[in-house]
Amino acid sequence: MRDVPDAVVDIAERIDGIYRTESRRIFATLIRLLGDFDIAEEALSDAFRAALEHWPRDGVPANPSAWLVSTGRFKAIDGIRRRARFDSLDDRIDEVEAIADESIRFGGDGIEDDRLRLIFTCCHPALSPDAQVALTLREVCGLTTEAIAQAFLTAAPTLAQRIVRAKGKIRDARIPYEVPAPNELPARLDSVLRVIYLVFNEGYSASSGPALTRVDLSAEAIRLGRLLVALLPDPEATGLLALMLLQESRRTARTSPDGEIVLLDEQDRSRWDGTLIAEGSALVGEALASSTFGPYTLQAALASVHANAKRTEDTDWERIVGLYDVLLRIEPSPVVELNRAVGVAMRDGPRAGLALVDAILERGDLRDYHLAHAARADLCRRAGDRDAARESYARALALAKQEPERRLLERRLAELRDDIR
């Protein structure tokens, strides 16, 4: 016996589908119309509830998103008006009344701008970096607080508090819900890109743990990156997306079946994802063609050189070093210098790279960076200086914190010992 008519089940599925694909967009518009995150969230639920109630009877509207925005807005304003009658201290009524008379701008540009507004607001530098990440994943990506907490190995109440405080700051300091003006855009975009890349790296380097229950942060970051590029065709945004795609292309080859780290030059390149590499490489080309590319684009270009080498021996090390030269000019840092030194070693031989690494360490930079000592050790080993290699591997091991990296360094040390026999 069927309790629920097929029509209702079909509509429910349709609404479910709309929720999955459109709810974030509708939410962003509701925030603009209602001026408050929490009110907008309530309005969103009310709107979808109303859809479940009315659409089986009245049919699915021609423009479902517009209907949902309109209904959510109406219910929210209605709710505030009713509460205002009981609570005359609610001064939001004036603001909302003003907004209520504003025409709803959506469809095409309106809604797209709203999601961009949302991204920039969640990534505002006046919010702490932790809050920016949490808020973006919650409000832009629609992840639940529990999922975000689990992904970052934080307690759910802690994360919930962080989000509450962030929304409070937005409200109390009046952080505007706007896409920044052109002269502010570069700095503000920096903030957004940083958040996205942070989320990506959290997912990229995360150990498996309860893998099935942890949300795929790298996938979320890539999704965010795609949305950003679609809404704001900026070279650095394109560069970041390219970088993430190219790094993601190596995911399955980065770890052995036992969960051990496999370094780039030892990876089974047949396991690299060709589709991601093709897309990433194309995006790199696009970004480099503009005159305003930056560090993310250059890092993506570096990743692209590696990704397009069939074997390690085929890597264009000249191009690698050249790209590091440019990167050092626009974003000088000892770590970039270190990576360049490794490239120089591949191009000119280990001793050439070693001279550069030693110069960095002698300056006092990277003394506590385990990868600097690991790189030095590797170069010493290749140059035939096993004692120096052992010493540097030991130094690296003393500084390394993550288990897979420690095991790799221990393996290297063991290999050196075995060589002697």
């Binding site: 006046a126 109390d172 300091a173 009046r174 952080i175 505007p176 706007e178 920044p180 502010e184």
Partner: protein, 119 residues
């Protein structure tokens, strides 16, 4: 919405800046002040006496305790303030960014005013 811009500076550092550079900064500060007044967003402001002129008041066991000096022994000390009125935080930050002492290592805190008392 009103914001209070709290301008702080490391007084030792300020003293070490060359006289000519300090004069240059103060001239620019004058221009900044003029623009701000002309914009209609200015409500109040002042340059304060140095932290050495400060006196701090607390209460202990129901009795007032008066001590010499500012309330917090921080490297950067409050040197002045501006009370402004603008639409949102981004506008307040845009104004704060033009404060000339920032270039020389100054710090500006931007605090929203929850409710004020009109004079």
């Amino acid at each position: 919405m009103q914001y209070l811009l709290l301008c702080c500076f490391d007084e030792d550092r300020w003293r070490k800046i060359a006289e000519s550079e300090r004069e240059h900064i103060m001239r620019e500060y004058g221009e900044f002040q003029q623009h701000l007044s002309a914009s209609g967003q200015y409500r109040a402001g002042a340059k304060l006496g140095s932290s050495q002129t400060a006196t701090t008041l607390r209460e202990q066991a129901g009795k007032p305790v008066i001590t010499d000096g500012p309330f917090a022994e921080t490297k950067e000390q409050l040197g002045g303030y501006h009370l402004i009125d603008c639409a949102n935080l981004d506008e307040a930050i845009a104004i704060a960014r033009r404060i000339p002492t920032l270039r020389a290592g100054g710090v500006v805190e931007v605090r929203p005013v929850e409710f004020g008392h009109p004079t």
